[in-house]
């Protein structure tokens, strides 16, 4: 794929991450911030995938996979904490 298209799409995805971070700053309750963090992390996974396509390095995909795994574990830990405390 051509590099210019991938860079444009990377810019759009970065704008999405900034919107998620805005909700992370504003969110009135703790679950709001957790939702914003989860969304920002998943969109960051997509950003890493696009960077892997741009630089043609499959190492970025390993990073994306581990990032998705850590996002899931962190989210489940936060959900259990909200449910019944530590």
């Amino acid at each position: 794929m051509s590099g210019t298209v991938i860079l444009t799409l990377t810019g759009i995805i970065t704008a999405g991450i900034l919107l998620c971070l805005l909700r992370l700053l504003k969110g009135p309750t703790a679950p709001d911030r957790a939702v914003a963090m989860d969304t920002a992390c998943t969109v960051t996974t997509a950003l890493l995938v696009l960077l892997a396509l741009f630089f043609k390095r499959s190492v970025y995909l390993d990073v994306a996979l581990v990032y998705a795994l850590l996002t899931f574990m962190g989210l489940v830990a936060i959900a259990r904490y909200l449910e019944r405390g530590i």
């Binding site: 794929m1 298209v5 991938i6 799409l9 759009i12 995805i13 704008a15 999405g16 991450i17 919107l19 998620c20 805005l22 909700r23 309750t29 703790a30 679950p31 709001d32 957790a34 939702v35 914003a36 989860d38 969304t39 998943t42 969109v43 996974t45 997509a46 995938v49 696009l50 892997a52 396509l53 499959s58 995909l61 390993d62 994306a64 996979l65 998705a68 795994l69 996002t71 899931f72 989210l75 489940v76 936060i78 959900a79 259990r80 904490y81 909200l82 449910e83 019944r84």
Partner: protein, 110 residues
């Protein structure tokens, strides 16, 4: 890497879904609405981007890793969001004032 038009279409649709999910996260009124907008749009968008990478790279190391990541995202993202919605409801986060029904409260009495 083959140079068809399929990867462009898949990745563009995925990026559009991701952006719509982020906008929904800003615009919607309470945590449950934000959760459904963000989860559905962002899960589908990220999975479409990963499938676009699979279509672009074929059966190479990159394509197989992207396919694994797509399966993983489709599997774990709804699970985590379900756990978070349940945790938020049990923690007592109120619904938006315009909400008309609360089936979880009716079913469990909490």
């Amino acid at each position: 890497m083959n140079s068809g038009v399929t990867p462009y279409i898949l990745i563009s649709i995925g990026v559009a879904f991701d952006l719509v999910g982020a906008i929904g996260l800003i615009r919607l009124p309470d945590v449950y609405n934000r959760l459904q907008a963000a989860t559905k749009c962002v899960t589908l968008g990220t999975a479409l981007i990963l499938l676009g990478v699979v279509a672009a790279s074929g059966w190479s190391a990159m394509g197989i890793k992207a396919l694994l990541a797509a399966v993983f995202v489709l599997w774990t993202s709804p699970t985590g969001s379900h756990a978070l919605a349940r945790g938020a409801h049990i923690a007592g986060v109120p619904l938006w004032s315009g909400s008309v029904i609360d089936k979880y409260k009716e079913d469990t009495g909490r």
